[in-house]
Symmetry: C2
Subunit: 406 residues, 2 copies
């Protein structure tokens, strides 16, 4: 069995970093102490939708807290809500929740494991499906479960209360979701449930139902949602401001470098896995101006890229970035072509390499000084290649090309 | 198969008598016409609680409409809600709905049949139990059913909306009852559901769900609740103002005679089985003062007593009533005792016959002129019995006694 070696107080300190809230904090500390004294891991619950995941850095905010808990020695239950996924809305008002087949769910679960496995240690993670227990519920069981919660309590949930106030339809089965989610905590006898701030109500329902079933109630830990690369909207696929865990190292690094300095501080708190002390020192230095934001950002981008592609890849991307954008160095893996000596037409070359869509495109690039030859602006459409030379062409911000002249 | 011989218009006229509302009336007429044209009976639903019934005249208001429909040739489904009866409230907040065992339910159902059989022709009545179909529901089936109704719609039910406004707890499973009741209509493919005015919301839910299941929606017919013998409160066992169907003929007749003249008009409309034309004539004559209320009341009391104890019993009670209260006649079955001549103490006699609890009781009766000897007030505690005579003693309003003196 895993030894729990980090003190309860230190565990709590790391859990609190960047967290939105822990409810109730003193209860969690008590649970951590008891778990430490008895060397008995806490049961940690995290629920996921069984629809096909495309996990991005936004999701890792919570996942990394789970990993932290896992590293402390606690028991993670990664719960896939395949039961509720079966509930389509026959009125057709809720197109966002298509009914999934069992095969879909299993496929998605596999994808989850692969993606979540980039953060969690899956060999120590219990992946559970709530259909295993909720699927055994008869209508009567469900009604009895419902008798443990009041309409008033559920209507307090933000989105319900808004819809109710605006006289928008809330279908009755929607009331059942939070209760089923809450029952999952009863079934697992969860000590702590994690989620985004938008999940607070549902997590509290678990607490409520555990009380009702005379269990020790779980604590809850909620994490803020992070903004995406645009710095404004919550990171999400639909806003196209997300950084996927499966991005190429270059894209991941590049996107991370594109965020604002302000957002970077939040990313430091929520996405870095460095100990809190180190992270706090970074943030303080940034605020005091004793470290350059660009340096801090490269360090963070390298760290995060390193998690998902290996530390070496992080370092390499950082070097390449510096080569391109800072030191104008030529990357090792630069695309290289061979040409005979003589004049060439750049527009023809770009078209051939599919770097532009039309000659008009190419002309605009040249006019905008976006084409550089050996790091100098080049304003002409033609270029003279000298025999035996090497020419570095830079097109736009990201594309570089080496021509070896025969 | 029963022939449907009464015209749709005449059926509707009789159904409307005393009814609170028919929704929508034109739809019901259409159904009646179609049923008449095709000689196909309508499916009529009436739901009953499976707790032990003690049916009183208040209940017969709806039952008689069912009987009327049955006499017209329609198909009655007397539905016993044994499914919901299984749902106890584990929070203990709802003590009024104890959980019934299957044996209890079957016993109560038997009692229902016997009591309801005094109004309906049970040989033509389908007694059904909703556990037969709802009992097959899985949790998922139930959730899918719930998705067909909105929270807003259910909160509109009077009692829910009041409780919600007053911030009183409504437990979620309470929301499920109306939906399950509504689903019963879907299962039965009901054309018409009957109930008290307090059931309007639940009956409409059946209509709503039938729409949702793309069935032709049922019409609903609601009947007013009648006041009990006190003339003020709804007839109910708890108010002790009810007339049970199992009362003795004398008690039934006597209680009916005790109601106010105003309430009698309502009873005429709702409890008489005479054709509407006749009833309307009675009520009109009463209003015009061309018939004495006492006469009308005796006629109604005899009619109703006649239903439950045979026509002859109704007539007999009427005669006995007139004998006692109107013509001071001595009833045939008067209690008779033999005494030797001489003075007797009335208090001793009353105690011996268990007519009073104590001598103090007896003295009060005498002081209040409630003791009559041969229909004359008798103010003394002693009475002289003449040899060879017969003495009629009247004690209080109802009790008479004949003493044959030796």
């Amino acid at each position: 069995m895993t030894r729990i070696t980090v003190s309860p107080e230190d565990q709590l300190k790391e859990l609190k970093r960047g967290a939105f809230e822990i409810l109730p904090e003193e209860e969690l500390l008590k649970k951590l102490k008891k778990s430490f004294d008895k060397q008995k891991p806490l049961v940690i619950k995290f629920g996921a939708d069984p629809s096909r995941p495309d996990i991005h850095l936004g999701h890792t905010v919570v996942l990394q807290k789970l990993r932290l808990l896992q590293d402390f020695g606690h028991e993670i239950y990664f719960l896939i809500g395949d039961y509720t996924a079966q509930i389509g809305d026959p009125t057709g008002k809720n197109k966002t929740r298509p009914i999934l087949t069992e095969a879909d769910v299993m496929l998605n679960a596999q994808t989850y494991k692969e993606q979540v496995g980039k953060v969690l240690d899956m060999s120590k993670t219990n992946v559970v499906f709530n259909k295993d227990w909720l699927g055994k519920f008869s209508g009567l069981d469900l009604i009895k479960l419902m008798s443990r919660a009041t309409v008033g309590a559920i209507l307090q949930r933000d989105d319900f209360s808004k819809r109710y106030t605006n006289a928008e339809a809330i279908y009755l089965h929607e009331f059942v979701y939070p209760i089923l989610q809450g029952y999952d905590s009863v079934h697992l006898k969860a000590d702590l449930e994690l989620g985004g701030t938008d999940q607070t109500f549902n997590l509290m329902m678990g607490r409520h139902l555990q009380y009702s079933y005379e269990q020790e109630a779980q604590c809850i830990l909620t994490m803020p949602l992070i903004e995406g690369t645009d710095g404004v909207n919550k990171m999400s696929k639909s806003m196209d401001n997300y950084i996927s865990l499966t991005e190429t190292p270059t894209n991941m690094f590049g996107k991370l470098m594109s965020i604002s300095d302000e957002l970077m501080k939040k990313y430091y708190l929520l996405l870095s896995r460095k100990p809190s002390q180190e992270v706090e020192a970074y943030v303080a230095a940034l605020t005091a101006g004793t470290i350059h934001p660009m340096e801090a950002k490269k360090s963070l981008a390298a760290e995060i890229t390193g998690y998902y592609h290996g530390e070496a890849a992080g370092k390499e991307e950082r070097d390449k970035f510096e080569a391109r954008f800072t030191k104008k160095q030529i990357p090792d893996d630069i695309q290289t072509i061979n040409k005979p000596a003589g004049a060439i037409n750049l527009l023809d070359l770009f078209l051939e390499l599919e770097l532009i869509k039309s000659k008009g495109d190419g002309r605009r690039l040249i006019q905008q000084n976006a084409v550089k030859v050996n790091f100098e602006n080049h304003a002409a459409e033609s270029l003279n290649l000298e025999a035996g030379s090497e020419v570095i062409l830079k097109i736009g911000k990201l594309r570089m090309l080496k021509i070896i002249v025969a």
